[in-house]
Symmetry: C2
Subunit: 233 residues, 2 copies
């Protein structure tokens, strides 16, 4: 399974600047346990983040953890998040942790102990910056929209001044990030290989169905190419 045994545990020093730096520059993004493979290639981080549809954002509110599923978008080495200006969860001013997890398969071993999940997981730590510059705010919201459906931003009505004023845009550097990947068959104990138990992997994937038009859609508007060709199985 996605076991907590396979996760970095130590708190590290401050992260260096992002840019072309390799991943895992701090102690807490370095894996301590487990057989899962840690990737050190920034391109793998980008690919994973670009494939994900949403993230889980961790914040601390009044000393307790809070985890929110939320949208994100990436521009270079920056992750953009957004929320209402009235939402307190994004108003903590403190550090956040963003996790994007893609599941690829159920790993069914001969022993309960060695069950696992094939997955790709990115975790980003940092203190987000509130974006004030209007151009960057627009670029961030564009990235958030494009994350859900590439090509969408140019096809829709862009935000009004009022909508922009109601939206907080946050920028999180990808400087301190880790990527963890588990692939392949189960890893059973040698002595269990003789057991009369089926073992293997059941692939899991996310697929997109036929687009369902809004009941209020005006007649004569067909499914645009950026949707029809998007994320097809």
């Amino acid at each position: 399974m996605l076991s907590t045994t396979e996760t970095a545990d130590a708190r590290g020093p401050q992260a260096p600047d992002a840019g072309s730096a390799p991943l895992s520059p701090t102690d807490r993004t370095r894996l301590r346990r487990g057989r899962h493979k840690q990737r050190a290639d920034r391109a793998e981080l980008y690919a994973l983040l670009d494939e994900g549809l949403f993230c889980h954002l961790g914040v601390v509110v009044d000393g307790a953890p809070r985890v929110l599923p939320t949208a994100y978008g990436r521009v270079g080495d920056t992750l953009y998040l957004h929320g209402s200006t009235g939402a307190r969860s994004l108003d903590t001013g403190g550090e956040v942790c963003v996790a994007v997890t893609l599941v690829d398969g159920l790993v069914l071993a001969r022993s309960a102990f060695h069950h696992s999940v094939n997955h790709r997981s990115a975790v980003v730590y940092g203190r987000p910056r509130v974006v004030d510059d209007e151009d960057e705010r627009t670029a961030g919201l564009r990235a958030l929209t494009e994350q859900v459906a590439p090509g969408r931003w140019d096809a829709v009505r862009v935000p009004t001044r009022k909508e922009m004023a109601a939206t907080r845009v946050l920028a999180l550097s990808l400087a301190e990030a880790s990527v963890k990947v588990r692939t392949g068959p189960p890893v059973d104990d040698e002595e269990d290989l003789a057991l009369d138990v089926w073992a293997g992997v059941v692939p899991v994937r996310s697929v997109f169905g036929e687009p369902e038009p809004d009941p209020l859609l005006r007649e004569g508007i067909g499914v645009p190419r950026h949707i029809a060709e998007h994320r097809s199985p």
Copy 2:
């Protein structure tokens, strides 16, 4: 999108006991914003948790949030988590937050602002209890295994004493939990309905592929029924 604008923000009082209590007993599990529907039915919480494959666990380590994808299992009103006895992340002794999120569709509106994601999301808050009783520890690990593949526990080698000793099992009450659901077409502004923009929902679902036998699988062991019939598309 899964906007942070749609999430409860206030910290609440202590939660009452779980059992047959309705959901949302505290301020922080009560939704403050957005059009998404909050569910108050405990059966919906169970159904969502039973459908999920893994959760995102939020903890606070040295004052900073940490989010880990990890396995879970449910028995009644208790969620079980596990990890290595050496993993520091589960050793905080403090509160945790567990989120299980299922994505059902991309909500493509006529305006960028009203884009969203149809989803079902459960969030559980609490202070997990380290399980000492061996029977409950076994029941918890059984639930964790069955979550990934129902029927699996009875088909595999159960944990040895040594494996049990290396595993920490935690129990988290479902007393303080919320369920949030967004369904249906986009909700555009009235004046945008006339725009020449396609709007609607692209369904998203998780599907399971053909089981891939472990290369080390002994000859003559076919895919068992509990796998073949499991989570078929």
